[in-house]
């Protein structure tokens, strides 16, 4: 389905690394104000797709539009309105949290930076971490700080790579609540990659399923549960991921939209 108000529009995206096709003719859209999940097993093409959306990786073919801007040619027009968080991409470890947020606030040209940092720090409850070097924080604290960095510019599009990976259940719940509150307050669009299916059911309006670089299905969590006759998204995920092993190829099937 083609959303008139799509914030993310990916058309026939392909990425080939020498002989390996990491992303194969993937097309999807994410509507304004929605939260979508990019799901798939390891090597399904999620990180490659996210990297292309962020402009870190140039696709072999295809088109990517974010907030109405062609990301392959004009990404700098829109980067101040996007942000990103991943537990696998650090901030400078020797800088304190305060210094890191100050540097990134300037990079994103955030107005009234000091008060914006105070607001985000208050929202995430990381005031006590401000004077501490980022490298000395626990995994959970680091995730909260990178989330703070990701919210500094109040992004219209927030891309999250496994936002609650390595967090304890309490901190993970806190992070999910924060993402929900942020979306409710700002109307931002969120695209996340996650392996946590309860998180997907809780946060997401839409799910995009990838397998071996191809889009194999998409829909709302409720639609997918109904289509696969399953009780939860974890079972749906396993059904789709194991198609490859049991040879029930979905490749020829038109993905639902």
């Amino acid at each position: 389905m083609r959303h008139m108000s799509a914030v993310v529009r990916v058309t026939q995206l392909c990425k080939q690394f020498e002989r390996v096709v990491a992303v194969d003719r993937v097309s999807f859209e994410v509507a304004r104000g929605s939260t979508a999940a990019l799901l798939g097993g390891n090597g399904a093409g999620k990180t490659t797709t996210l990297s292309i959306l962020l402009g870190l990786l140039r696709p072999t073919t295809g088109e990517v539009s974010v907030l109405g801007v062609d990301m392959l040619r004009e990404r700098y027009r829109v980067l101040e309105r996007i942000n990103f968080s991943s537990p696998y991409v650090d901030l400078p470890r020797r800088l304190t949290v305060r210094e890191n947020l100050g540097v990134y606030g300037r990079l994103y040209n955030v107005k009234n930076l000091r008060s914006r940092i105070d607001a985000v720090v208050g929202e995430l409850g990381i005031g006590a971490l401000m004077p501490r070097p980022y490298g000395q924080l626990s995994a959970g604290q680091k995730t909260r700080v990178t989330l703070a960095k990701a919210l500094l510019n109040e992004p219209e599009l927030l891309l999250l790579d496994e936002p609650t990976a390595s967090l304890d259940p309490d901190t993970a719940d806190y992070a999910r609540s924060l993402i929900e509150r942020y979306r409710a307050r700002t109307g931002a669009t969120i695209l996340l990659a996650s392996h946590n299916m309860s998180e997907v059911e809780r946060l997401c309006d839409g799910v995009i399923m990838l397998r071996a670089g191809r889009l194999v299905d998409q829909g709302t969590p409720q639609e997918l549960l109904q289509r696969y006759g399953r009780k939860n998204m974890e079972e749906v995920f396993i059904d789709i991921a194991r198609e490859r092993e049991i040879g029930l190829a979905l490749d020829g099937k038109e993905p639902s939209s």
Binding site: L56, V89, D90, P92, Y108
Partner: protein, 271 residues
């Protein structure tokens, strides 16, 4: 966004990255000490060699500051190149490149920040050693006068150019290539005529020497010290070559950046 606003935002991003590295220097006195350590050690070593040679060599006796000036100016070139490469690798070591490249920071702004930090680090490192030379050997490189500015600017630009190429190679081939940062500049040292005139090189090597801005700077330095004259012709050669060097250096870095972006290496930084 209007053009002045865009320029302002761009300068703010360059400033933000410079600030990030200044925080690093401010928070670690060993880093600042390290910046001055090698230039000072080199200067002390060559200073004592000078003291010895002044009494045993007519060439050095004619201009006792020649070796100390040479070693300090050589360190301008070395520190400038190293400054660019180390500041860039700092981002790789801290796995921060992914965050930087998804921010509005443009590659050209990253280059501007790297060059600014290289300048700051070189001034701290070589400036400290130059000040120590004054009481220790009763010689001030600042006695070269205004030509010193021309020498400094030319050497720092050549160092930037080599540093950009080295950074591009490290970006493209990973941290396994980081030793390039330490060794690359020494490939040009023998043919730069740092401690001896270019004329003593074999003729075929003189051709190579004359393709390097550094050889004109060191010839110019000796002209000031021995002949008390400032050779504008040498300066013009150095400047023209540096225009080419800097253009190649920055273009090379941006080309490596584009290759890394195509091959997916901006997020997968490592050995």
């Amino acid at each position: 966004m209007t053009l002045p606003e865009r320029i302002g935002a761009s300068l703010q991003r360059v400033g933000a990255l410079v600030l990030r590295h200044m925080y690093l220097l401010r928070g670690s006195w060993p880093r600042v000490l390290e910046l001055m350590y090698w230039p000072t050690m080199q200067m002390v070593l060559w200073g004592f060699i000078t003291v010895f040679l002044v009494n045993h060599s007519s060439w050095v006796a004619q201009a006792s500051g020649v070796l100390i000036s040479a070693v300090l100016l050589w360190d301008v070139l070395f520190r400038s190149q190293l400054g660019v490469a180390l500041v860039f690798m700092e981002e790789m070591w801290s796995r921060n490149l992914g965050q930087l490249f998804v921010s509005p920071l443009r590659p050209t702004e990253l280059v501007a920040a790297l060059l600014t930090m290289s300048l700051i680090r070189t001034v701290i490192g070589v400036g400290g050693a130059a000040l120590i030379a004054i009481p220790l050997f009763d010689y001030s490189i600042f006695s070269l006068g205004l030509p010193l500015i021309a020498f400094f600017v030319n050497l720092i630009i050549m160092g930037w150019a080599i540093g950009m190429i080295v950074s591009g190679i490290v970006l493209r081939y990973g941290l396994g290539a980081e030793s390039m940062a330490w060794i690359a500049i020494f490939a040009v040292q023998p043919v730069s005529g740092v401690y001896y005139p270019v004329s003593i090189l074999p003729e075929w090597l003189q051709w190579l020497a004359h393709a390097l801005p550094s050889s004109y700077v060191f010839e110019g330095m000796r002209a000031v010290l021995f002949e008390h004259s400032f050779r504008v012709d040498l300066l013009v050669h150095a400047v023209l070559l540096n225009v080419v060097f800097l253009a190649v250096g920055i273009s090379g870095f941006l080309a490596f950046f584009n290759i890394a972006r195509t091959r997916g290496q901006l997020l997968q930084i490592g050995e």
